[in-house]
Assembly symmetry: C2
Homo-oligomer: 169 residues x 2
Amino acid sequence: MTHPMYSASVPVFKQMLTALSELLKKAEVHVTEKNIDPNALLQGRLALDMFPLVRQVQIAADFAKGISSRLAGVDVPSWADTEVTFDDLQALIAKALAYIGAFEAAQFDGSESKEIVLRPGTPKEKKLAGTAYLYNYGLPQFFFHITTAYAILRHHGIEIGKRDYMGAY
Amino acid sequence: MTHPMYSASVPVFKQMLTALSELLKKAEVHVTEKNIDPNALLQGRLALDMFPLVRQVQIAADFAKGISSRLAGVDVPSWADTEVTFDDLQALIAKALAYIGAFEAAQFDGSESKEIVLRPGTPKEKKLAGTAYLYNYGLPQFFFHITTAYAILRHHGIEIGKRDYMGAY
């Protein structure tokens, strides 16, 4: 039996978060070798009114956690977003990977038609079926933050390439 | 009956390419109003060894075309990638939207287990099942180039936001 909602979410999050962890390791090596203040990169942005690298990583982890939880029908755990250092970000990614890794594919069965409510109780509340929530909302958001994290690193001279972004597939 | 392989591809490409078209319209208005050479933006990059905006749009359109074709089991049409201007890019996006819009959802049924060969006949040849091809290869690539196009625009001061990136969902 196939589990399309699982296959399109948890293994993809694992792939990309694992790749992001490797990207950040290369970035840390780079700033260490060049005697660069790590915060210059961790707080680096593509535009003044865009989030810095640390926040991009936090949001990517948050979407992996939130999408997986909502599709599986479990409460979304709240994490504090207190990360500051490369070590903190690695710990966050490891925590996210452990969290999503605990889901069984069968927990996602039937989530295609599950009603997911975005921003409940707010004027921007929006109801989506599970498929639209995953394909048209969740994945575009998740990939946005993964790619933007990569772009911040590339823009600031870290020697990485598309292969690093893609990870193992 | 649901068509997960179709739902996770064609409608997502439509959503994101339509949003990209709107992003580029805003960008063109911006450079026109500010008397900026449009090529400064069209050839803008996040790093010297990354592709410029024009190429990011071409590759995004290319993945939408290629992924849809391969999953549906039809030959991938070859397009010339000769775009230079904003009008060219709008025409390319319109062409891609018309092309993928012609697929029927049922053409994607069974593509989960279809073998897709990447870079056939080269040392980097890689065979993937349809699900891995879509979820773990195609979508990460497609979103990479859509997000990077967005990031180039944001980095160069175009007044757009996440809502514009997301489009209608």
